[in-house]
């Protein structure tokens, strides 16, 4: 398996590895994949009162591409609003990491992880979005 230098870089020096308190109301957790399929990704985002993702952490069980894809999205989502983060597509990830065709599913999984983390955060906040978050979302549109 010939990997691009970017995959190898993320694999050897993964960014933002770690865990956040998943019970913290400011943290959204997304876990996707299944052990039997050979990859499980967990992405966590910490969202501030302005609705901006100020931190992100990941842990991934999977091949080099899966680890690199999740490492990359932790970098990409930081500083973005939730809606901006939701615009990250698997094709962007695959392109950036120059993933071979057999590894496209890793980038799909990373996109799913972002969506799952954002949904988890939003469901925790329920209907009662903070004022600031609503304001930020409006500005973003």
């Amino acid at each position: 398996m010939a990997y691009s230098e970017k995959v190898i870089d993320h694999y050897e020096n993964p960014r933002n590895v770690g865990a956040m308190d998943k019970d913290d109301s400011g943290v959204g957790t997304g876990m996707v994949g299944a052990p039997a399929c050979g990859d499980v990704m967990r992405l966590q985002i910490k969202v501030n009162e302005q609705g901006i993702i100020e931190d992100a952490k990941f842990k991934t069980y999977g091949c080099g591409s899966a680890i690199a894809s999740s490492s990359l999205v932790t970098e990409w989502v930081k500083g973005k609003t939730l809606d901006e983060a939701m615009t990250i597509k698997n094709s962007h990830i695959a392109e950036e990491l120059e993933l071979p065709p057999v590894k496209i599913h890793c980038s799909v999984l990373a996109e799913d992880a972002i969506k799952a983390a954002v949904e988890d955060y939003r469901s925790k906040r329920g209907a009662g979005h903070s004022q600031a978050e609503v304001a930020a979302a409006l500005v973003a549109h």
């Binding site: 398996m1 990997y3 694999y11 993964p14 590895v17 865990a19 876990m31 996707v32 994949g33 299944a34 052990p35 039997a36 399929c37 050979g38 990859d39 499980v40 990704m41 967990r42 842990k59 991934t60 069980y61 999977g62 091949c63 080099g64 899966a66 680890i67 065709p101 057999v102 599913h105 799909v108 999984l109 799913d112």
Partner: protein, 421 residues
């Protein structure tokens, strides 16, 4: 411990001890040609280049003499008669010749073949082809330790069973099947017994009489001989017939045509003789290294699982699954070690090893397995470096693994509803 080394014939310097290359622990994939073997091969590429089939001059006679000496050497290694040895391009061709050749010849007697799920692909794919030709094949399950269940084996025999094919020593997990018992059962039922002894020769005693084999495939490059050469043993008493699969000149008593590659054959003969000579010494030294590797890994890494029986296993093989890390990322992390993984991730389907699946291993554990193949030139320093690397890299990947974190928190991974994708 007397450490054998690969020495360059010209410079007299060791060849394998190369800090710029990964540590080679894939001796079940292939082996380097032993320098003692290479030395015997070389003259047959240049000075003694004759065709063994040339009966009319000295060039041919020299080549024929070398080929017949090698035939005797291989026959001796298998406790066979030299007239029972047929040269082939390798063990895959030998197995094709044995199974297709005998199935075609005996198809009038029956069309049923028995083999195991954990066989090498040379056997499984040949059986698939025979199924397409109208033969019926039973692929028997093995026990959790990789060994055949003899009762189930005997029960699978039918009146129309003509051949059974069994892998003596498994290439992935190194387990040794009870060949004498299998041979007895098959002889009693008058079923032909083909043995894939590729991984057995030089590692355990191989005796076609003791196990009552009718056909046996062996290979040169797994026993420190050259690639591109193998042999099929075909029993003379009682006579076993195989239909040729390669035609053109009637070499090898009509069973396999084609000009004989004298240098390869000389190499295989020399390697077979050396393999038997060194078998006990190699096994003892390699066994110590394997035990050191296993203990080192088990002392340093939790949650490891050995695949296959340790009791009925060659010392040259260790196959371990590292729970909560994924196989391909582990292989990628272990680039300083040349090993092979049970996870064939190069295919789009992410198929885990069919051998480990046949032992009833979960996909996760099958995906995270590593095969360590220890050989004649492995050193204690290489084993120690391997233990260090494994402990470090598995630890690093587990820090990255959400499954490991959940395991440490006491969460049962089977209790979780995973989203299929």
């Amino acid at each position: 411990m007397n450490q054998p080394q690969i020495i360059d014939l010209e410079s007299k310097k060791p060849l394998l001890i190369d800090p710029d290359r990964p540590i080679y622990l894939d001796y079940q994939a292939t082996t380097p040609v032993d320098p003692q073997v290479l030395e015997q091969m070389l003259p047959y590429l240049t000075h003694d280049f004759g065709n063994a089939a040339s009966r009319s001059h000295a060039y041919g006679w020299t080549a024929e003499k070398a080929v017949e000496k090698a035939r005797q050497q291989v026959a001796d290694a298998l406790h066979a008669d030299p007239r029972e040895i047929v040269w082939t391009s390798g063990a895959t061709e030998a197995t094709n010749l044995a199974l297709k050749g005998a199935a075609h010849f005996y198809s009038g007697k029956g069309k049923h073949i028995i083999t195991l799920r954990t066989e090498h692909k040379a056997t499984l794919d040949t059986c698939r082809q025979l199924e397409r030709e109208g033969f019926e094949v039973t692929y028997l399950e093995v026990r959790e330790d990789g060994l055949v269940d003899l009762k189930a084996f005997e029960a699978a025999i039918r009146p129309d069973t003509i051949i059974a094919s069994v892998l003596f020593v498994n290439n992935e997990i190194g387990v040794i099947q009870p060949m004498e018992e299998i041979g007895r059962i098959l002889r009693a039922h008058k079923v032909l017994f083909h043995v894939d002894a590729v991984q057995a020769l030089g590692k355990v005693p191989v005796d076609v009489e003791a196990i009552q084999a009718d056909m046996m495939s062996v290979s040169g490059h797994k026993i420190y001989g050259p690639k591109g050469i193998g042999a099929l043993y075909v029993r003379r008493k009682p006579r076993v017939r195989v239909e040729a699969q390669v035609h053109g000149g009637g070499h090898e008593r009509g069973m396999r045509s084609g000009t004989l590659p004298t240098h390869q054959i000389v190499g295989m003969g020399a390697a077979a003789e050396l393999a038997v000579q060194l078998m006990d010494a190699d096994a003892q030294r390699i066994g110590k290294l394997r035990d050191r590797l296993l203990k080192g890994i088990q002392d340093r890494v939790e949650e490891t699982y050995i695949n296959g029986s340790m009791e009925h296993r060659v010392p040259h093989n260790l196959n371990i699954s590292f729970a909560f890390v994924e196989g391909e990322s582990l292989i990628m992390a272990l680039k300083e070690i040349a090993v092979s993984s049970g996870s064939a991730c190069t295919s789009a389907s992410l198929e885990p090893s069919y051998v480990l699946r046949a032992l009833g291993k979960s996909d996760e554990l099958a995906h995270s397995s590593i095969r360590f193949g220890i050989g004649r030139f492995t050193t204690e320093a290489e084993i120690d470096a391997t233990i260090e690397l494994i402990a470090g890299k598995v630890g690093k990947l587990r820090e990255l693994s959400p499954l490991w974190e959940m395991h440490l928190e006491g969460i049962d991974l089977n209790s979780i509803q995973w989203a299929a994708h």
